[in-house]
């Protein structure tokens, strides 16, 4: 279980699941950083992405469009995406723009990881 803070995006790996932490304001810049980190994790063999929004107060439309891009990439690679600890206002925004149709939303990181483990074949979840 390692944690990376390169390019100002905090992330960690739990088996083949990468947990990426979004910052307080998700805009173009921070969105692209998350995107880069997610791509890197997927390229490194991650089979699921948990994006944690516990620090996120505000999300703008550019940030949301980047999240959709991340979901697209993950879907194409057969990876699962779960959002965790998203505040109510941001959930509303995601619903308005149809994001919730493509992603699972979990109450917190723990629930997100357990959703991943139940969704992925055990061998993939454990990194075998």
């Amino acid at each position: 279980m390692g944690e990376s803070i390169k390019s100002n995006v905090r992330s960690r790996c739990v088996g083949t699941t990468a947990v990426v932490y979004a910052s307080d304001y998700l805009n173009k810049l921070t969105g692209e950083r998350i995107e880069r980190e997610c791509k890197k994790q997927l390229d490194s063999g991650a089979r699921a992405l948990v994006i944690d929004f516990s620090d996120t107060e505000l999300v703008n439309s550019i940030g949301i469009s980047i999240l959709l891009g991340i979901i697209d990439i993950a879907e194409k690679g057969g990876a699962l995406v779960v959002f965790s600890e998203v505040n109510n206002e941001t959930v509303q925004l995601f619903e308005m723009l149809g994001l919730t149709r493509h992603v699972v939303i979990a109450a917190n990181e723990q629930e997100a990881l357990s959703r991943v483990s139940t969704s992925l074949p055990q061998s993939q979840a454990m990194g075998h």
Binding site: Y25, L29, N60, S61, I62, I64, E89, L97
Partner: protein, 759 residues
């Protein structure tokens, strides 16, 4: 003349005391302020070359007393600014003699000021007398000035002498005082037998001084002189003076009548206001004449009798005669001119060609051109190249011309002419007053159209059928509440030009000038061919609901005006006091025309005025400007969060507002190609709402229609597959009202969140 100080200071050049000076208070304050403000800001103003103020006078509007009052006011203040007032004398015939007169006047008024002896201003003194009177501190430079003048005077270069005299105020040592020169009656400066363009020399001298100055005169002459003196690149400030408004003219008549001990009635006062065309000169002239002759002006007959006396041989006669003599000093040419102007009075005979005029006047082209120029300056004609339109709309001027023509050219007996002029004046008096009352009572169509300004209003205000069905019989409160809740809105165009329909077609003349308006506009406030539209608006006279036949007649009439004038995209709007009968409503709808009752018109007027007030109410307004980029939209979001908390919005609503603000800032940054890269924000707090306007300079984005909402209140910005187009959609979802305000460049998005809906 009383030169003693009273409560209002000295009365030196003023023909009336300060307390009797009526109708130009704001202008007087501006002139005094112009002289004094330049004091502290001299260098900055010099750098911008805006130290000059051109006072542009409509014919007969009167400016001399205003300048004289300015002189007295500055003289009384005893500050560093020394007022100098010089009216170009009509008696002088050359630029040189006028310039010498200026030099004398300048020194006289300067020394009067320095010695604080107002009485000197009216003394008649030679230059040598003035040297003797000069205060010790000024003796040296005044002596040098007079010596230099005596050398120049006997030189051979007239132009040099003129320039020397006009620049004399520059010789005042800067440490002692600063002159504030006011030139009056610039139109008299082009002396016919002088090769020196005096008016231009005046402008050049004043501009080169770098000190504040005022140049006043007939607007066409002043603007022409300023332009020819090269003021195009460093435009001086402008003050426009029109004839007095009705209220000021009434007050002037009342005050002057009291002073002259002339008895007047409300009726004769109102007649004089209209008949004398709001001219301060004519008003005071008439009342002075009445005072001198101890006449009461308490009936139309008394007024018209005095009017004709004045026109045929009194002050009015002398004024018009002097104008004509200035234009055409030669009696034969003057007689030809009178005939020509007289014959051009009837409608349809007012346009002439230059060559035709030249032949009729039997003069060479240069002389005709000179005559036309002087007539143009007096606004007796409009001369624009080959075509000459003879205007002379003033009834007083026409009365004078006709009487002169009959007396001088036709040699009719004077008694007959006097009797006829008086009979005409008496017959016209009730019509003049009736016309005035009609105008005062008419619907202010043009004013209302001017307020349209792309505002959104309930559509039913233009559809009498809909309005009557919903609100007829309801109270004002119920109607207002219903209209407030009405979501079927129409966005009015931005009107950029209005004129009476009569100006477009004489077929509308029988209904009166005020009954119809042709208004050129752009819908959505967007300046493209597709958005150009012309509103044809008419008031239909009827005591009952207007029937279909009358509507048909008006629609055909206005369609005809549109066709004749080549107006393609038009909108007809008829207004009738009591609205329209059902068949008439159907007809209006069939022809895509609007129809409103007087009640709808009044409601519309109120709502548009309220909109203006709301826009100008800045008491509860916060403003924030920040550079684009670097996540600065978060600063705006933080600011609006604090403001919204004060209004007790819920946390959810606050987050929605913050998100909308962030999106609006991003839109402004992305779309505008802003030259200053700044975002301008206004947060307006009202009891039940928070309105936020996010603006930026730059281009008008082509994908923004200027309407966040269409005419029916529907969204016109379509959701697209492009995820980057989500910002506006989000804003519209998060906020209660969203609209693009009309701006000349960039974008201005106004969004409102209501407290009652969100908390």
């Amino acid at each position: 003349m009383n030169h003693n100080r009273n409560d209002h200071g000295y009365q030196i050049l003023g023909r009336v005391g300060r307390d009797e000076f009526i109708g130009r208070t704001a202008e007087l304050e501006r002139l005094v302020s112009h002289a004094r403000q330049s004091n502290g800001q001299g260098r900055a103003r010099e750098a911008r070359n805006t130290h000059g103020l051109l006072v542009l006078l409509a014919p007969l509007a009167g400016v001399s007393e205003l300048l004289r009052q300015t002189f007295d006011s500055l003289f009384t203040r005893r500050e560093e600014v020394v007022p100098i007032y010089f009216a170009l004398p009509q008696a002088e015939t050359t630029a040189v003699s006028a310039a010498i007169e200026f030099l004398n006047t300048f020194l006289l008024q300067y020394i009067a000021y320095r010695r604080d002896e107002p009485a000197l201003c009216r003394a008649s003194l030679t230059l040598n007398d003035l040297v003797k009177l000069a205060p010790t501190a000024d003796v040296v430079w005044i002596e040098e000035l007079v010596e230099a003048y005596n050398r120049q005077r006997f030189g051979e270069d007239d132009r040099e002498l003129v320039r020397f005299c006009l620049t004399a105020p520059d010789r005042i040592p800067a440490r002692d005082a600063r002159p504030f020169v006011m030139f009056d009656a610039v139109q008299l400066g082009n002396y016919s037998d002088s090769s020196i363009p005096f008016a231009i020399e005046i402008v050049r001298a004043l501009r080169s001084s770098g000190k504040p100055f005022v140049l006043a005169g007939l607007r066409r002459e002043v603007l022409d002189a300023a332009s020819r003196a090269g003021c195009n690149t460093d435009s001086p400030a402008l003050m426009r003076l029109e004839q007095l408004g009705d209220e000021d003219a009434r007050n002037l008549i009342t005050a002057t009548a009291r002073k002259q001990q002339v008895s007047i009635t409300d009726e004769t006062r109102d007649l004089l206001v209209q008949q004398l065309e709001g001219s301060p000169f004519f008003i005071t002239s008439m009342l002075q004449a009445a005072g001198e002759q101890r006449l009461a002006l308490d009936s139309y007959l008394a007024c018209e009798r005095l009017y004709v006396d004045e026109l045929m041989g009194g002050r009015l006669n002398r004024y018009f005669s002097s104008v004509l003599e200035h234009i055409a000093p030669e009696p034969e040419i003057r007689a030809s001119l009178i005939r020509l102007l007289c014959e051009a009075m009837p409608e349809g005979k007012r346009s002439s060609q230059f060559e035709g005029l030249r032949r009729r006047l039997k003069l060479d082209s240069a002389r005709v051109e000179q005559l036309l120029r002087l007539l143009h300056i007096q606004e007796l004609i409009n001369c624009d190249g080959e075509t000459i339109d003879i205007t002379g709309n003033s009834t007083l001027w026409q009365d004078y011309l006709k009487s002169r023509f009959r007396l001088d050219a036709l040699r009719e007996p004077r008694a007959l002419v006097v009797a006829d002029v008086m009979a005409d004046a008496l017959k016209r008096a009730p019509q003049t007053i009736a016309h005035h009352y009609r105008r005062a009572a008419s619907l202010p169509l043009r004013e209302l159209l001017g307020k349209f300004n792309s505002q959104l209003v309930p559509r039913c205000l233009f559809d009498y059928g809909q309005f009557a069905a919903a609100y007829k019989g309801g109270t004002a409160e119920e109607t207002a509440a219903g209209l407030d809740a009405d979501t079927n809105l129409v966005r009015l165009p931005q009107i950029f030009h209005t004129a009476s329909g009569v100006s477009f077609s004489s077929t509308l003349r029988p209904f009166g000038e005020e009954s119809s308006v042709v208004a050129h506009a752009f819908s959505g406030g967007i300046y493209t061919n597709q958005n150009e539209i012309v509103w044809l608006v008419a008031r239909v006279e009827s005591k009952l609901e207007v029937n279909a036949a009358l509507v048909q007649k008006w629609l055909d009439l206005l369609d005809g005006v549109a066709r004749k004038s080549g107006l393609v995209n038009t909108q007809i709007w008829l207004i009738a006091n009591e609205g329209f009968a059902p068949e008439a409503i159907d007809l209006l709808r069939t022809r895509d025309a609007f129809g409103s009752s007087r009640q709808q018109f009044d409601i519309l007027t109120d709502r548009l005025s309220t909109g203006e007030l709301r826009q100008s109410d800045t008491a509860n307004e916060f403003q924030l400007i920040f550079p684009m980029g670097a996540d600065n939209e978060m600063l705006a979001a933080s600011a609006v969060e604090q403001i919204a908390r004060r209004l007790n919005f819920t946390a959810e609503a606050i987050n929605q507002i913050k998100t909308a603000v962030v999106e609006a800032c991003i839109n402004a940054s992305e779309h505008s190609l802003s030259p200053d890269r700044k975002i301008y924000q206004r947060f307006q707090v009202e009891n039940d709402r928070l309105s936020i306007t996010i603006s930026s300079r730059g281009i008008l984005p082509i994908n923004f229609t200027g309407n966040a909402q269409g005419e029916e209140g529907t969204t016109t910005v379509e959701a697209t597959d492009d995820r980057r187009g989500w910002g506006l959609k989000l804003i519209q979802t998060l906020m209660d009202e969203v609209e693009f305000e009309r701006v000349d460049e960039g974008t201005s998005l106004r969004m409102t969140k209501y407290l009652r809906q969100s908390s």
